[in-house]
């Protein structure tokens, strides 16, 4: 859902893509080429949070922040639940981008917390439980097909 909303940012000429991070820096959604993997964006998210903390050390939250690099710009829009980050060329149409940022951030903000939780959940369930751990109890009285073990021994 977030990816679909973020894709609207690319309607603005010069926008490469965008991503959203929570207030803790966790990636909540992205609309970027595959070369930007989630691990990198999570690390970027943590740095965005630190940059925000540094800039807002005096107390006020910033509305937006733009960083210019040799060939690109990175826009950050602060929303209550996180940050919307947009990568663009230096020649991007700034007024059009700001309008798109405003509209997109309104639609994305309510979804950020849920999206971050959903993104984290599959990662935690995808990892098989280690045999050294106590297996979870069978769900609601249904017989478990898996053989329970404890420290590598059947129980």
């Amino acid at each position: 859902m977030i990816t679909q909303i973020l894709s609207g940012m690319r309607d603005v000429d010069g926008v490469h893509g965008s991503f959203v991070v929570t207030r803790t820096g966790a990636l909540a959604g992205k609309d970027l080429p595959p070369m930007f993997d989630d691990a990198v964006l999570n690390e970027v998210g943590r740095r965005v949070v630190r940059l925000h903390e540094g800039l807002c050390a005096e107390g006020d939250d910033f509305d937006h922040c733009v960083m210019r690099f040799a060939d690109h710009k990175l826009y950050l829009r602060s929303v209550p639940n996180g940050f919307l980050c947009v990568l663009s060329t230096n020649g991007v149409n700034t007024p059009a981008l700001k309008m798109a940022l405003t509209l997109t951030s309104r639609r994305v903000d309510p979804l950020i917390v849920d999206a971050a939780a959903a993104a984290a959940a599959p990662a935690s369930t995808a990892v098989p439980p280690r045999t050294s751990e106590v297996p979870p109890p069978p769900a609601s009285g249904a017989p478990s097909r898996r053989q329970a073990t404890y420290r590598g021994h059947r129980v």
Partner: protein, 252 residues
């Protein structure tokens, strides 16, 4: 780098020159272009400083309170006085690593700021720099253009006066404060830290060459700009200040 301690003595050949109206930047330019290896004592009122030249570069400077680049910039601000060669001990290693051209640019910027009480100003026309008289002035203008392409911004009548800035600070690449105005004590660490994070974020996303940042708060705006010399300029202006020219100059 071996310093010419054995050559610190003043050559006896050549003319003894007395010039009225010359400036220290004129003198520095002359010595560096002549590839001189000498030390000069600069006296201005009760202030005394020393400039050390080696192989066409200013490699060391001493003033009452500073050593190295800070001392050189302080001495270059002095407007009148006398210059004489002397023989004092050379440092073990250079304390100035900027080129003399860069030092003159920084000095000219500092002089402009203190003299005109303008931190950022834009020429009313492109011809303004072309009509500047005097070799050094025109050379310095060229150097400024080479050093800071953003100075080639389109002509604008807009200018930002000191009164519009809540704080201004310029930091060298090591984080030392080169110049500051207003409430810069809190701005300096914020600027240094933020610029570093912006560079790291850019590197992770494959975006090299961080040059500027603008951050908008309810009551004010913060601008950061990495100069080609590596110095970092940070400005804080009220939210309602006219910043179009500043954005144009910094490219944000």
């Amino acid at each position: 780098m071996s310093l010419p301690a054995d050559r610190a003595t003043v050559d006896d050949d050549g003319f003894r020159v007395s010039l009225e109206g010359a400036t220290l930047p004129d003198f520095v330019q002359m010595e560096c272009l002549a590839q001189s290896n000498r030390v000069f004592r600069i006296t201005s009122g009760h202030r005394i400083g020393y400039l050390f030249f080696n192989k066409g570069q200013m490699i060391h400077a001493l003033s009452g309170d500073h050593v190295g680049e800070a001392a050189a910039l302080e001495i270059l601000k002095w407007r009148d006085g006398s210059v004489e060669p002397c023989s004092v001990g050379w440092p073990d290693a250079p304390t100035i690593h900027s080129t003399w051209q860069n030092l003159l640019i920084l000095s000219a910027q500092a002089r402009d700021e203190s003299g005109r009480h303008k931190l950022v100003s834009f020429p009313s026309s492109r011809s303004a720099s072309a009509t500047a008289t005097g070799t050094l002035r025109s050379d310095t203008t060229k150097l400024l253009k080479r050093e800071e392409p953003a100075m080639n911004a389109p002509p604008s009548s807009q200018s930002l006066s000191l009164a519009q800035f809540q704080a201004f600070v310029r930091l060298d690449p090591a984080g030392n404060v080169v110049s500051a105005k207003g409430d810069a004590e809190e701005l300096a660490p914020v600027a240094a830290y933020t610029a570093r994070l912006a560079e790291l974020i850019g590197n992770m996303l494959g975006m090299e060459g961080f040059s500027s940042l603008e951050c908008s708060f309810p009551k004010d705006r913060v601008f950061l700009h990495r100069e080609r010399s590596g110095n970092l300029v940070a400005l804080k202006v009220p939210a309602d200040a006219e910043v179009g020219a500043l954005r144009e100059r910094f490219g944000v």
